[in-house]
Subunit: 132 residues, 6 copies
Amino acid sequence: MTIHTLVEYADASAEVRAVYDDIMATRKTDWINNFWKALANDPVTLRRTWESIKQIMAPGELDPLIKEMIYIGVSVTNQCPYCIASHTASARKKGMTDAMFHELMAVVGMANETNRLASGYQVEIDEQFKTS
Amino acid sequence: MTIHTLVEYADASAEVRAVYDDIMATRKTDWINNFWKALANDPVTLRRTWESIKQIMAPGELDPLIKEMIYIGVSVTNQCPYCIASHTASARKKGMTDAMFHELMAVVGMANETNRLASGYQVEIDEQFKTS
Amino acid sequence: MTIHTLVEYADASAEVRAVYDDIMATRKTDWINNFWKALANDPVTLRRTWESIKQIMAPGELDPLIKEMIYIGVSVTNQCPYCIASHTASARKKGMTDAMFHELMAVVGMANETNRLASGYQVEIDEQFKTS
Amino acid sequence: MTIHTLVEYADASAEVRAVYDDIMATRKTDWINNFWKALANDPVTLRRTWESIKQIMAPGELDPLIKEMIYIGVSVTNQCPYCIASHTASARKKGMTDAMFHELMAVVGMANETNRLASGYQVEIDEQFKTS
Amino acid sequence: MTIHTLVEYADASAEVRAVYDDIMATRKTDWINNFWKALANDPVTLRRTWESIKQIMAPGELDPLIKEMIYIGVSVTNQCPYCIASHTASARKKGMTDAMFHELMAVVGMANETNRLASGYQVEIDEQFKTS
Amino acid sequence: MTIHTLVEYADASAEVRAVYDDIMATRKTDWINNFWKALANDPVTLRRTWESIKQIMAPGELDPLIKEMIYIGVSVTNQCPYCIASHTASARKKGMTDAMFHELMAVVGMANETNRLASGYQVEIDEQFKTS
């Protein structure tokens, strides 16, 4: 089906190529992963998603590696196999060591556990934690 | 109902008090939040959960503040109001600035979005991301 | 808004009252909880949902109390406050002790944790677990 | 394992065949997809699920194609690969164009993002949005 | 805490006011709901999120009302109380009748059920549904 | 990548072997499934997770088979393929019949449906269900 075609660079419109070029330049790489090739079926979403990711994942108050690790934590919680694989690869490229990955997984696993203990025990929010 | 009673320090068994004391000493605080008071109805789970959290959230390859932020990312993804409130408070106590929180939210929001774009477009994992 | 009106017995159509009567008779109770009063805005969904629940939660290979506890496990995983409150009350009415609730929560919490460790480590399904 | 056998028409009981026949007649098709063949291991659940789906997905206030697209939105949010594949195929059969699919994905992705921004920022419900 | 302050128009910077003005003009309304007032603590995310939503929710291949209903379906699946309340209100403003809401809920509920039956029975994707 | 290596018994450290030996002795089996071989990359998490599971899944107020079925219910709700496969196999080994599995799936599916009806209709918790 057309909606699942992966748009290769050679077959891409000028509009899509411009995004591909920016992805490769920003990431200092010479290939495009399948996520973008799939989104390229919808050039408007391709551009908006890339512009948003580029802005959000840039260095800021948080280090890009930390941002990748947060991305993994969300993807693992949501059980998204593609996202786990791609962001784990990105994090490693940015310097995530085995030991860092292990700690990340331990935190993500425990957070998922205590999230359910808190809801199952119907724990009310402490006054000290209230925002207003 | 008994299962939802919050166990106050004054009413707690020696076994529960020992955990409460360790929580307060480890966190350098003089109060216990509702999550632990609820879990204290089951002293075995209270101890196991606290021992696990204590081990996992200690300084390691990742800074404790980073771990708190990952905890927030998971809790926000799971829509757990108690956990969002308590870990946001903990993270602020450990030094999370407004700007850091804003970046955290931006990453968590975007990850939740692209997780669905990846699954909706049925994107296959690139060979380069495969683990074996 | 109309869609959120709770339909009280006194104001209900004969069609809705027939379902309410069957709920109260089946559950040996004399009141209707808000979930059904909300669904009653859509009598077709009210009837279908009640008939399904009645069939599914009846005694079978699994005891009705066990079924209520599984229901709690799902509701806690999904972070549904209404469902956690109502099914915890139902389970207690059917005999769930504090100790049983504590074990239920421990299992639900741990399952949520290991679900993420399994996905985060990208663990492949063992040949022994494959179904074909 | 028996629980995962796919029940083919040739091997099905009269009870299961009756459901299969109704599925094929309703959908104007000559084959049964694996979901139903798996459920057929439990004829009671097979019948109840089919009757519910048949009722819910029929033309009503919402067009059947719109219902399929909502189904996709839920399945994508839940990361259910089987459901995404089967309902995307159904929607296309009912007339979903590439452009419609692209807009659907954009909405589903954005909703998943803002759901987390709303919970992460602990936004309180506006008086104007309250139902009572 | 600052991160949870709602930024009122009177206190907003020119940058934030420009977004608020565009929201009110686009939606033909004279007030700003809390979601945007919370995001306004981070003007960059406020602008990016608003620009994305404005683009995505505009009339296109899908009617804006249909888009609101898909938004509700996702928010209900994710158990986001704020999002359910706000998008239900928006959908009603755009013409969603009670009957449409009822059908929407029936589809969302059923999709969440069959998503789990498909994964629980470990149903393999039919060849006919495969994308390549 | 190292983080995804499966640690075989022959290559394991004494620390890891001790956990493997305890798993096999406790489960009366002579092999280790991939989940533990993956976790073994992080011996601290391996030990903590195993000790927790061993404690939680032991006979108590709830039968170990019931605990396995609750585990399946959570894993199905979270869409974790590995966990569904492994815990379904474990439950069968402990005596889960086809009929029990069918009832389990029916309950899990229905709970996932009504969880969304409750949130979608914004049902308020009945006074009778409140815990304090």
